[in-house]
């Protein structure tokens, strides 16, 4: 470990911020400002990490390693590669935006700020951990602050939603723990005492296939719950809908990516043969998720729930691209993880703004907003188009790569998946039309205020990135490529 430990900084700055907030006096504005500054500082460090990242290096960079429990080979082991880099930056970007969006929070602000910062720390830890026990600890550490965020500051059915979220995710997490321990014990049988991912990369594929299958299954359940893969998705609509705006943004923007990250980081490279065998089923589940999510979204009357179900659909695309095992599919899938974070995060922010003004999320309560709030509806349109994959915006790049990558692996799945694009257009444009177009039917809509400066500031980075990635995805793709192809080469012995 030489030089400044940038990755640990990414963890310790939010931690320091949380401690600072805990000690600070109970003044709401001060606390929110602390949260904003701390998360901006974290974002700054993540940009430094982005800049320092060597594009052509397929391995882990900025690695830090300290022994934690020597008898067990558990280390404090952090590192980023092309796969985790963008997720780290995305996470660090979304949190300051969340703080800016949290002006509506006025009860127990101290706990709110602390919970958000601890969540940031835990999610960043998940993406950077290279030791599987450390990964597990961070994975579970996300649970408590999220559960508090949904349960205390959420909407009407928040208690039900948060308990469901907690139990579901905990169950998956515990199963993953058993899988990790079995992996460690199986590897120990060959004389290695380690929990390090790098060691597992070498040793895991050599284990007996039966053992590999069990561990794969255990890990897959945990990741499938997170993604979520149909039929483990039932926690998502409630959690996303009942969470406060910041909670929904974090949930959709980064939490779901923990699942897909788990698949590409652990399930695929550690157990390549099993992954190959499981691929058809996973692709099938992905397609089901795409179509089911789109279908259910189309019939939603609650705008936020519509966006929540759209996440199921979009993550189905990501999963489809991953399990196609082609370079294009995987890259599209990785990019789409980022894209979804940006566009769905923006959607939740916009819906949150809608709720703040009108205290309702039912689509039928709206109509004609476009004429009173043109900027708002313009932004909403851009984000909706990005979400459905209009060429020129980021969603198109991701979905294009995914579908063409999937087409090489399984034509039927790709064709059905493409149907999901149509579905997305259906539910998004229809919802947009009902909300923003047409005559103004209700008086309360006439006084709908357009975006304030603060709201414009917090949406701007997302819009910029949506357009930027849409027209110039190169810098993002080229950083991912080496790591992704390295992962895939272990899988198929050399490309599609």
């Amino acid at each position: 470990m030489n030089g400044i430990p940038w990755l640990s900084l990414l963890l310790f700055i939010p931690l320091a911020g949380a401690i600072l907030a805990a000690l600070a006096p109970r003044r709401d504005e001060l606390l929110k400002r602390i949260g904003l500054i701390v998360s901006l500082a974290t974002f700054g460090v993540s940009l430094v990490v982005f800049a320092k990242f060597e594009v052509s290096n397929a391995g882990f960079q900025l690695v830090e390693r300290l022994t934690w429990v020597p008898d067990w080979g558990i280390d404090y082991y952090l590192g980023v590669d092309g796969i985790s880099l963008l997720l780290v930056v995305l996470t660090a970007l979304l949190f300051p935006i969340c703080f800016l969006a949290s002006t509506g929070v006025n009860k127990r602000v101290k706990e709110y700020v602390i919970a958000l910062l601890i969540t940031e720390l835990a999610i960043l830890g998940v993406f950077m951990a290279l030791d599987m026990v450390l990964f597990y600890v961070f994975w579970e550490a996300v649970l408590i602050p999220m559960y508090l965020l949904i349960g205390i500051w959420g909407y009407e059915r928040r208690i039900y939603a948060t308990i469901k979220f907690f139990i579901y995710t905990l169950a998956g997490g515990l199963l993953m723990l058993v899988g990790i321990v079995v992996l460690h014990v199986a590897v120990r049988g060959q004389g290695e005492v380690t929990f390090s991912y790098i060691d597992f990369l070498e040793l895991a594929p050599q284990l007996a296939l039966g053992t590999q299958a069990w561990i794969f299954a255990a890990l897959a359940v945990a990741f499938a719950i997170k993604v979520p893969v149909f039929p483990f998705h039932t926690w998502l609509p409630d959690a996303h809908t009942e969470a406060p705006t910041a909670g929904s943004v974090i949930l959709a923007g980064v939490l779901l990516k923990m699942g897909t990250y788990g698949f590409i980081r652990f399930s695929l490279p550690l157990f390549p043969e099993i992954a190959l065998k499981a691929a058809p089923y996973m692709m099938a589940a992905a397609v089901v998720g795409i179509l089911y999510g789109a279908a259910v979204s189309a019939v939603q009357s609650d705008l936020k729930r519509l966006v929540a179900y759209s996440s199921v659909s979009h993550l189905g695309f990501v999963l489809l691209g991953l399990f196609a095992f082609t370079l294009q599919g995987a890259q599209g899938s990785m990019l789409q993880m980022v894209n979804h974070g940006l566009s769905t995060g923006a959607l939740f922010l916009l819906v949150g703004m809608l709720y703040e003004r009108r205290h309702t999320r039912a689509i039928e309560d709206f109509g004609g907003i476009g004429s009173v709030a043109p900027v708002y509806s313009g932004v909403f349109l851009i984000v909706a188009l990005s979400s459905l994959g209009l060429p020129g915006l980021n969603g198109f790049v991701g979905e294009f790569f995914i579908l063409s990558g999937a087409f090489q692996a399984n034509r039927l799945a790709a064709i059905l998946g493409a149907g999901g694009v149509v579905g997305a257009a259906l539910y998004l444009l229809w919802a947009y039309q009902r909300t923003f177009h047409g005559p103004i039917t209700s008086d309360s809509n006439r006084v709908f205020k357009d975006l304030t400066t603060r709201e414009r500031v917090l949406l701007a980075p997302l819009i910029i990135l949506i357009v930027l990635i849409g027209v110039w995805p190169q810098p993002f793709l080229e950083r991912m490529e080496p790591a992704v192809s390295k992962t895939l080469s272990a899988l198929v012995g050399g490309g599609p």
Partner: protein, 483 residues
């Protein structure tokens, strides 16, 4: 002098018994004195005993007192856990007893005598000694459970505990008789020697003997289906006694179970492993499910204690060095969590008594955030959420079980944990996510001893969470059994 070799092994116990007698005499002589001297004497005795016990750490194991007692690191670790539980309970006791006019020497003397029984159980190397120790600790606990003479639940608790306990002692004794019949000795070391050369192969009643022993010891450890006394006893007893019972008895009972089954009867593994595995599965699942239905916090914690016994049971089923180390580590963390949880229950006052109904905890996180946060810490540790000590304890148990090719047990344990998580977080939900009733001031009842006990427990839970390696290696060193 025959039979007194290395009697210094029992110095800790002698100190404790001496202190108990001293307390009784002092109180008989000067009955109306007030002040914390009773608790102080008790604490000093426990600390001195702990220091004396440390003397035996790391030394070669040796038998003492005619083979009745053994001095080894396992015994030291178990003793420390028990003495720790006793000390923490003593810290919490005056605050609870004084307002109810129950702060008497008898309480502390009984606590010390119960502790003696437990520590003797932890170092016993003869089945007769096991029995004596169990009787000693049980009798003291029966009385302590019913200490609040005025409260009907206390009498019920004590009565139930006594009746069922007497019954299970009979089972234990019968099991000892069978083992004696089969081997001709009650000494655990000699039994192991005889069993390992096949002396028990022709003994048809070996399975029966093992089953009876498991029943007797399983009762004390509160495993399903011998757990019927636990919810009532824990609910009815004065809460310091509950904390003490929950933590220390389990440590002692499992120490005995490990010595009898893992140390002395590994040859009969094919008899007791499946039985114990079945019992642990039942324990974890049943206790977790029933706990979900509880509305009384003490009763819920009682069922949660039962389910934790199941986890320790998994480590025992593993029947390996790691299994024993995992069991010890779990008992250590479990003691801290349990005393912390029951201590938190003692903290929240409602009128003159404790708040026991879960609905009365609503909004506690808003009015008393620090106290509620500590309670939540203990609950989350019990649920096994990292980075608390409870997580590492469970993890180590899983590891030991998987290594011993019993991978199905952790899966069941995971299922139980998920069910259990529900009632743990329900308390947190009630505390943090519900609004407090406006007329309720939620006074706290923090005697200095209670504060210290909760603080120490929290430190242990957090410490084992952040630096598990230290405690894990201690537990592993403690697997140096008797000769």
């Amino acid at each position: 002098m025959p039979g007194t070799e290395a009697w210094t092994v029992l110095l800790p116990e002698l100190v404790i018994v001496g202190a108990a007698i001293l307390l009784l005499l002092v109180d008989a002589a000067v009955p109306e004195s007030r002040g914390p001297h009773l608790a102080v004497i008790t604490l000093v005795a426990l600390v001195v005993a702990a220091v004396l016990a440390f003397d035996q750490w790391g030394a070669d194991a040796q038998l003492a007192l005619g083979g009745m007692v053994v001095s080894d690191s396992f015994g030291v670790f178990a003793r420390w856990v028990i003495l720790g539980a006793g000390a923490l309970a003593t810290l919490t006791a005056p605050g609870y007893l004084k307002p109810r006019n129950l702060d008497r020497a008898e309480f502390y003397a009984l606590l010390l005598l119960a502790t003696t029984g437990m520590t003797l159980l932890a170092v016993a190397s003869d089945l007769v000694m096991v029995f004596i120790a169990i009787e000693l600790l049980s009798l003291a606990l029966y009385v302590m459970a019913g200490f609040e003479r005025g409260r009907l639940e206390a009498q019920e608790a004590s009565m139930k505990y006594f009746l069922l306990g007497a019954f299970s002692s009979a089972f234990l004794l019968y099991g000892i008789a069978f083992v004696f019949g089969g081997t001709g000795t009650t000494n655990l070391i000699r039994i192991r020697a005889i069993a390992s050369v096949g002396g028990l192969d022709d003994f048809r009643l070996a399975g029966v003997a093992v089953a009876l022993l498991t029943v007797g010891l399983g009762f004390k450890a509160a495993m399903v289906p011998f757990h019927m006394w636990t919810p009532d006893a824990y609910q009815g007893a004065p809460t310091p006694v509950t904390a003490f019972m929950a933590a220390a008895t389990k440590a002692a009972a499992f120490a005995a179970l490990i010595r009898v089954l893992v140390l002395s009867l590994p040859a009969l593994r094919w008899d007791w492993q499946p039985v114990l595995a079945g019992i642990t599965v039942l324990t974890i699942v049943f206790a977790s499910i029933v706990a979900v239905a509880q509305t009384d916090v003490k009763r819920m914690l009682a069922y949660s204690s039962i389910s934790h016994a199941g986890f320790v049971g998994i480590a025992v089923v593993a029947a390996s060095r790691s299994g024993v180390a995992a069991a010890l580590m779990y008992l250590l963390v479990y003691t801290a969590m349990t005393v912390g949880a029951f201590g938190s229950v003692m903290l929240f006052r409602e009128g003159q008594s404790e708040r026991v109904h879960i609905a009365k905890y609503s909004g506690l996180g808003i009015k008393r955030p620090a106290a509620a946060a500590l309670f939540a810490l203990f609950l989350f540790s019990m649920a096994g959420i990292p980075p608390t000590g409870g997580f590492w304890a469970k993890w180590y148990v899983f590891f030991a079980a998987i290594r011993a090719d019993q991978a199905w047990l952790p899966i069941v344990a995971v299922a139980g944990s998920v069910i259990a998580a529900f009632f743990y977080i329900r308390v947190a939900v009630v505390m943090f996510m519900q609004d407090p009733p406006s007329d309720d001031d939620m006074p706290l009842d923090p005697s200095p001893g209670l504060r210290m006990a909760i603080g120490i427990s929290a430190l242990v839970v957090v410490g084992t969470g952040i630096a598990p390696g230290f405690f894990l290696s201690l537990a592993e060193k403690a697997t140096a059994f008797g000769p």
